[in-house]
Symmetry: C2
Subunit: 460 residues, 2 copies
């Protein structure tokens, strides 16, 4: 085989002069680029992903909290792109880049050649230099993260039900979410709802409504990217679900039975320990490892922000490398006026679509326009009939909280969910949960690993 | 705590003279017993399970083949039994039995006291003394088994797509199912459909329809519990889906790249090797380990059958122990006439309901009738619009194959599925799969562990 310099199935073989586009990452940016490119005979597309599915990340917290199944929010990439005859899906992990030969290296030794490379490998959660917290406070980026968080939440209630010691029982019934951005707010809201509503009648020794849910945020308000009034409203809606919102509170340590925080009030600082067995991490992201390797290979400075994301030009290409575009959460793209494009799904979708357009224009000898981010606004759900929305093109009128925001959130998420069957299934699960106050998919999967529970022994 | 001889949350504390029923296992038998007992104030019920959900096992093969999500066929036990105020659900693993003190020991050191014990911990698959085959040929009893089988099937096609060597590619595209009972037939049929239909347009280097699916059965026909004519029909329907049915073929060895079999034809034997990377195990069961411990503690002979199941009296109690009943797949119950009750879901449901009735009668000083198995017949699905059914109370007229059997199968499985939302979701997924020939939940979850694929290297 060594005398074949190019893999039998590499796009280069059959391109026949067609422009070879390689997309790394099948998230929103990568998938929308692939979809748009996939019907144009002028290009040949290879989409590389470590996973065989596209994941609808905005609903991942609903898997983590038992409202949806993983299969409801994931769709196989091959199924989505099956009609695109010019598109090949490769299940593999991109680990290296040779920018001179224009070639991506996979972890299994294979390679894929490109004429244009789209890097859309996103971001993972970051622990700000405390990697040892990863096992103590799981973050929420993958399906495995979501089922692990679901397992921890459910096991905590099971352990509390069987724990005789009141102090240890209280530890099991304390849930801490670190990070007051949209994911943290949505997770904390769902945890509040689970304790007050979903599990109300499920236990015999504990009252789930006695659970404490804390949302810990270092800044002085939750949802810091929203207008101040909506942050306040979100805080009030969370408190109504029984969530204690602790702003100005920074986590300094995490161990198996609690967290240590520094609380800032009016210029003074004090430390505090919060006993808990369940800490969920919704704070901070960092660039994916392939993203960092790409930046290194291309000689791009990634110290621009703490997350190590990659700065791009107005056309989303890497400075000095018009054949490499960075898309989605991995990119630091600038809007007109210089403000950064936010790391949200609509931005990734717009960037993916733009990248495809831009490539097709270049292939036809035209010059692409710069990327123009259309800010449609933000919406976050907090619980049953509550949420906040900031639809910016409506100005002040677009700032909504409560029922209206909740309704908008439902609509937007159903419309963008990929796969018609998934949409129907999600609608049914939501309708059913709404009517019955239930969450049907609260399964503890994987080996249960029951925690050691202190109780009197009885048999030898 | 040591001065409390009984756990704070043990039923004994609050029973107040009520009859304490402990059920180990939340499968069909245990759950149906709990449901029936759960509204009677004369008893207090504790249901112990290692899992927090009831699993609808007859549809597990559909999770393994990507047609349904785990959450579609599992329902939290607490949710099912939440209205039963006299019922406590314990997430725990029963590991020991003290028949003198009438006490079940849990793996975490806790204990639960009983007046009547129902043991319904079912069976696991058995490898006939070849436990080393377990990792090479996964069986199908749990959700984890199902997602592992799904992962192997999907990874095999992914590996084939990228494999340059034709022989190794053929190994990846050969799927062997061992065991021609209902699970084996349903798995093989689904594998045939996946290769011929579901994945038809998904790949670029391979034709999924070239996949070989083999169903290997040691006896001389598949579905040996069905009438001969239906076995023949099932064989023909499988062949139509591209499945090669190999009866009279016994597996003698399994390794990473193939299986060895002994083929018996007309009294002669020959050995053969079948190269394959994916072997699925649907042959043989053995009693659960708690079941075996119960038999040992009660001094019951379990060498009656190879599976180590526990023989019971006509009222499903253990001989000499009227306070212990064995239900479901773990029991060897006899019908009137002496034939054994089969290890199928309807039998387990009937036994669970009977056990509850029987306990309630005894508590009221009445004598229970012996268990009477109502054989409603068998139905197995093979693929789109095909299957076999043997509805015995209809006699010869009840022997059906093809479309009618398939329709019956659909109806029965929807009716018995627990949880209204699950029913709707399953109907939608099935309708959608039927219309689009797709299977929406074919996700490779867990760490992908891509197999080493032989391909030329390209980068250093």
């Amino acid at each position: 085989m060594a005398d074949h310099p190019v893999r039998a199935d590499a796009p280069g073989d059959s391109a026949g002069g067609r422009h070879r586009v390689v997309i790394v990452g099948g998230g929103f940016a990568g998938l929308y680029a692939a979809r748009k490119l996939g019907r144009d005979p002028a290009v040949e597309v290879t989409l590389i992903d470590r996973r065989n599915y596209h994941l609808f990340q905005p609903l991942l917290y609903q898997v983590a909290t038992g409202a949806l199944s993983p299969g409801d929010i994931a769709q196989p990439l091959r199924a989505i792109l099956r009609r695109n005859k010019n598109t090949r899906v490769v299940l593999g992990e991109a680990v290296g880049l040779d920018p001179v030969d224009r070639r991506v290296a996979l972890s299994d030794g294979g390679t894929v050649d490109y004429d244009t490379l789209l890097v859309a490998t996103g971001a993972r959660h970051a622990y700000f230099g405390h990697d040892e917290w990863a096992t103590l406070a799981p973050g929420l980026k993958t399906i495995e993260d979501a089922t692990e968080i679901r397992r921890r939440i459910l096991i905590a209630y099971e352990a509390a039900e069987r724990e005789a010691d009141p102090l240890r029982r209280a530890e099991w019934m304390t849930f801490v979410v670190v990070g007051g951005g949209p994911t943290g707010v949505e997770l904390a809201g769902a945890l509040g709802e689970i304790s007050r509503d979903t599990l109300r009648r499920d236990f015999r020794s504990i009252r789930p409504a006695d659970a404490r849910v804390l949302l810990v945020e270092a800044l002085d308000r939750v949802l810091p990217t929203y207008p101040e009034s909506l942050s306040q409203s979100a805080g009030r809606q969370l408190e109504r679900l029984g969530v204690t919102v602790r702003t100005g509170t920074k986590v300094t340590d995490i161990d198996e039975s609690g967290i240590a925080v520094v609380v800032q009030t009016d210029g003074t600082e004090r430390t505090e320990r919060i006993p808990t067995r369940t800490v969920l991490w919704a704070a901070g992201v960092q660039a994916s490892s392939f993203g960092r390797r790409v930046a290194e290979a291309l000689g791009v400075e990634t110290k621009v922000d703490r997350a190590g994301r990659v700065p791009v030009d107005a056309d989303l290409t890497v400075p000095g490398h018009p054949e490499v575009m960075i898309l989605g959460d991995l990119a630091i793209a600038k809007r007109q006026g210089g403000k950064p494009v936010p790391g949200v799904a609509p931005a990734a979708i717009q960037e993916g679509t733009y990248a495809a357009d831009s490539i097709l224009r270049r292939v036809r000898g035209q010059t692409p326009e710069p990327f123009r981010y259309r800010d449609k606004g933000d919406v976050a759900v907090i619980g049953r009939l509550s949420g906040v929305a900031d639809i910016r093109w409506l100005g002040r009128f677009g700032r909504r909280s409560g029922f209206l925001a909740w309704g908008m959130w439902l609509g937007v998420h159903i419309v963008y969910l990929i796969g018609f069957a998934n949409r129907l299934v999600v609608i049914i699960r939501w309708a059913w949960s709404f009517l019955t106050h239930g969450r049907g998919t609260r399964l503890i999967t994987g080996e249960p690993h029951l925690p050691p529970i202190k109780q009197p022994e009885h048999l030898d």
